[in-house]
């Protein structure tokens, strides 16, 4: 079992947290129509409705079916429809065809959620100590899982709505102060043997551990992520046309996909514009660049004569700072804003995930939990890159400094930016 919760995590605390997380998901879709909640624009993105149902399926499958005596599943076919990728649970609806599911309706999915919520709360209320010990870590895991899907719901939705020439603004504009980001500067970090990975009490994902030693050579980090203005300089210097900056795989993608700028950007007569869930607007030069792939982050770094940090460098540095930043709060979407403050390192947390130079592989001693619940992080340890620090779409409280997000190096629809690193001379 990957979770080792203190006894103090009593039923009431868990219930409160469960109720809040479940409510946040539903707050997110309040301004959306049932049709908005059905769009699927690529196999990697799911309809909002599917995200809402799948997170419920998780609680139903791993908790209610095993631990709630007499629990009656809401619908016999939902196991087939809303399993994401758990081979050990059985056959499932093809991922690329989630957008075909007009039925169950959004309304029906919300009923499904209510059915599951009620059963989980009832189970928590009546659980004896032994049952509680068994289900508590699974509920905490289910909540963390649902928080991940809150972020995906927003990024998948943005990608889906972007296919529409109407460029719909589905959330109200959250006015960002047009502050100026601090100038880019380099901060030196010591090397040596460091400890990396989750340590301490409370929940973490299995892939964040075990805590282990890593040898770091001295390095420098940029004080903040690269901004839109800086990235525009790369574009205008012909960055997307010059193979010398790009990894070989990257250059293939640039040409095949005809990339000329970050995702959601376009060059209008009066300058670069960017689509978001708040509609299309001018690119804010001071905000961190967002919706770039690892390939683009790496190419920018190469163009700038530096490199990306490893996940170990990033974590060693970031663990010196308090975990606070611009996160998703109360189901109310935001967008990346300029860095603020004059700390040694700023904007480490929130706003944009930061691509690292580290492929996503297992830490020494890693072993996934047994059973289907272990088909979670381990089987994706191939071909993806680690991102750190969370974004403005990551629910507040979800992140840890040891948190390892991971996506394929060509993916751009997450809130992904990057910070620079270089070797000490």
């Amino acid at each position: 079992m990957p979770l080792d919760l203190p006894a103090a995590h009593a039923a009431a605390t868990i219930r409160e947290s469960f109720t809040r997380v479940r409510g946040d998901s539903e707050r997110l879709i309040k301004p959306l129509t049932p049709e908005d909640c059905m769009i699927q624009s690529m196999p990697e993105a799911s309809p909002a409705k599917w995200n809402l149902a799948h997170t419920s399926w998780f609680f139903e499958t791993f908790i209610l079916k095993s631990h709630a005596a007499g629990y009656r599943p809401y619908h016999n076919d939902f196991g087939y429809l809303f399993n994401s990728y758990y081979n050990q649970i059985g056959e499932r609806h093809p991922r690329a065809e989630r957008g075909m599911l007009s039925r169950p309706s959004l309304e029906d999915v919300l009923s499904y959620r209510a059915h599951v919520d009620e059963a989980v709360v009832r189970l928590l209320e009546r659980a004896d100590d032994e049952t509680l010990a068994a289900i508590a870590p699974l509920i905490v895991l289910g909540c963390a899982h649902e928080e991940q899907h809150q972020e995906l719901l927003l990024t998948d939705l943005q990608h889906g709505l972007y296919q529409n020439a109407l460029m719909p603004a589905v959330y109200k504009y959250d006015n960002d102060d047009l502050v100026e980001a601090p100038a880019l500067d380099w901060r030196e970090m010591e090397g040596g043997v460091c400890n990396i990975g989750w340590e301490g009490e409370g929940f973490s994902f299995d892939n964040e551990g075990p805590r282990h030693k890593v040898y770091l050579h001295p390095f420098e980090l940029s004080n903040r992520p690269v901004t839109n203005a800086e990235f525009i300089a790369f574009i205008e210097d012909g960055g997307y046309q010059n193979p010398v900056h790009w990894l070989s795989d990257a250059w293939d993608v640039v040409n095949k996909e005809e990339w000329q700028c970050p995702l959601y950007w376009r060059k209008a007569d009066d300058g670069w514009r960017q689509y978001s869930l708040f509609g299309e607007a001018p690119v804010n030069p001071h905000a961190p660049v967002c919706h770039v792939s690892f390939y683009e982050a790496d190419a920018y770094a190469s163009w700038a004569g530096v490199r990306l940090p490893t996940e170990f460098e990033w974590e060693a540095a970031a663990s010196l700072f308090p975990l606070k930043g611009r996160f998703l709060q109360n189901g109310s979407p935001r967008r990346p804003a300029p860095a603020e403050g004059d700390d040694k390192l700023v904007q480490l947390f929130g706003d944009v995930w930061e691509w690292t130079a580290s492929p996503y592989i297992a830490y020494p001693g890693f072993a996934p939990p047994a059973g289907a619940v272990g088909e979670y992080n381990g089987k994706f340890m191939s071909g993806q890159m680690v991102l750190k620090g969370g974004s403005c779409a990551t629910p507040e409280g979800h992140l840890r400094v040891s948190y390892r997000n991971f996506f394929y190096p060509w993916m751009r629809w997450q809130f992904s930016g990057f910070r620079l690193a270089r070797d000490c001379k």
Copy 2:
């Protein structure tokens, strides 16, 4: 101008017909949810909502924008979103991504329809003779076009809902009498020089003419289309496994798509079952086989030692019989039922479209109308096969004996069956 309407076709008649057709489309979607109306399961199929909007775009583009002084388009971007394939009208939303359009909502599309309907009716009410002469044929064409999209709406919807493991029944069951089809028999037809193509007054599509002479050798037709029971005999004789019956292109598709039976069929423990908009049900042995491709129709005929009729043979024979049959009435869907009667030829019209052996090409002397409205039938005269006779999803009154429907030989999602032919000895 492809339409030559008699003077008697006065504004009132046209308005009545316009209002009926427009209403029928909306009656069709009454039992559907906005989510049902958004599914797109393949590039060739469109969401119901898109079908509803596109038919309105047709009236707006070809009639209101040119002839209704002061007409204000409902929305500036709808021209881009709802143009189907008219290159001369301009750029358009990619066909394969019509299912991404959560906005405009179904409700908004219905408002768009009301806006267009009101403008067309007002235009008709106020039109002087000259305007009426100009717009009457276009409105009649627009109504015929909308009737075509009523059939597509149903076939596209069925294909979309079929992707869902829930196998939704969206319409109420229309109980068919379980009559037995008459035994298959052969009817001899005379040959010689025949006249083929539309003749007479009233509307027809450009591809139905000009009326011209064709030489036919004497032939025989089967009295009725092939039934499900007969087609099951082909399946059970290994028809889908034996290349000798199949055209070379067909055999490639059979293997690539792993065809084992008609579309929407599956073999259950208790026999063949078939999905339709009324849900899944046992295959009716007496009903005509439906949802087969030209390739399958041709393979069946080859297996049976005979062939398919040409469109000319079909039309020459069918023009001897009254045009009546099982069609779509009042926006209330039906499904193919067993043939009835003891006429020389039965079930020529309605129930299922009949594949012919004729590639869809121009009749001698054919020329499409000038301008964008001519981008209609002519540019598709390549690679498709002619189907005749209409189906249970073809609106009543839409068909003519000279009507030429056309689809690619591998397509199966229309209500398509077939009748047999053979040479006279």
Copy 3:
């Protein structure tokens, strides 16, 4: 049996013809290296070596194995390697991977040919009347089949060598007189009921019959095929950029393949140049345009305000003229040259195959021969278009006015041009 040979077709005549055809194939590859004979540039094209072996396989499979007592196949695996598409003969090497066969070597394939030749000649020498009656039509068929592969050998080779930036000239230049083609003119033809298809003694392919009646409306044909100069006018008028001239399927291909001119053409600083087996040279303005698809032929006709002739119109007209023209002689390749003469219709035969407006389907009463040898023409009667008249790569003596060649409408690597037609006013 599709062949009904006169008794006079004695063994000696057949042997002479067999020996000549077999020798012609080998003369064609004399200037080539073993490596040239191995190129396969697309699934539809085969290596020269494969063409040489497959034609031998045909004699071995359909004649020697069945009729030559004690015949010992040259190699047990050659049946698998060199079967083209005969499902009834068994499994076969994947078509797209014929270029992988370094072994057998060209030398070995030539030994295979000698082995087969010797066995066929010996069989002919010793055959009694009954055997002769059985094998004569098959040998004549095998020779006709081999002649077809001589043309394919050249067109496949040209396509293969064209992939090479060196643009190799593998044959010596066959200097064409730079005569001027006669001006384009229209020739009126009568309509009425015509007889179409092979009639008479001697060999023909099954798809050329049965002879049957067709009704033709009066029409006009252009006196000669369209020339390169005329086609350049279409290009320079933006023909490849204007969708209005193109069939819908065609326009998709033009865009996907980025067609801007006929195959093998490129625009150099000093004008259009064209690759052939004689190397690259300036386009001859007076020669008929060649290496265009049906789609391009049809688009040109549309641009010119006319149309392509049907195969029936072409045959009815061409049967009034003697069958002579510029064909392949003695295994010595040629290229299309300007039309000559002032006949009513010129250049009907040889130089370039002429695309017709007719899809390739069965004639009334057509039935392929039983058994594997019948898997020849019939199973390709889907999706292809008829070409008439032969080309400069068609062996002399191979053609008949009833000959029906067929290719998909997007194919351009054959020696394919076109003539124009229009309706009489």
Copy 4:
């Protein structure tokens, strides 16, 4: 400049080494026909002829053109034809179409080689000290590059010939003693801070450095690579059917490619058989498993309850042993044989490359050399996995313990096997 050669590396030594390497390449193709040398079976594999020409192009481009005054390139178009992937050098022939190049012939390519050889030797003979200092590292690099292509020539050739149902044996059988491999055992290794990467004099590739520190936790390695017999146990336990052992990406490939066993294997009536350049033969149970992908290696390890070693673990352990093993000698191909000896670790070098758990990324402080010659190893640092130890197709003397080979995790056509690792308890 990535190469820092000692002064003692005088012209004569370099010339001797150059001549030997160039000769070895040509010895490899002695038993092959020109047709064998032209096969290209996938974009990742090149024809032998292309490998021979490309390695010559490397010397011509990076040495002769820049440093040999008055050098006359052999052919103006060869720069286009034989550039592999150097964007900075210019446009090039498409990789997937290298098998189309019948011209230049093999004979011509051998002349090209002679032309280049002569010019390089002459340059070396006449070079002053300054020129020698400039060209020596490039010639050494060119020789190392050519040795890499000797291995690729063999693996590409094997893949090409495997497409042929004749299963050609192109080299004579090199009889392996049927020794039994030692039993699998575990060897403990200490952890701590280790030094990794090339150190010392002589040539190494840029990606082997800089030498740097890595922290290793104590671990165990298997004494030898996994054998065919052991891998067969995995197959027979349903290893290829059970998703629980496979990475998510791997499982997709297993299903898409329908993998059931290593590449080149098939199950015959009398057991597993394996194709190689020596023809098809029974799988040797004691030889190391070969032609498996990283995915299969990782799945096997997961099934066995252990893991693969990291490249750092492998290198730290292997650097304790002398670098000797079964390599390619004198252009005479071999195949993997059973491990021998009772050393702590055996068969570290030669026989089969060993997949590691390490993605191929830059070492701390890595920077590729400037200019086109630097487009070598760095731009491939994405998505690939590191292999260590060399194989029976790696030329003797080519390897270093710091050598980092890299391929995508799904690739199987190299001589790739694996060794197991596990954490110390």
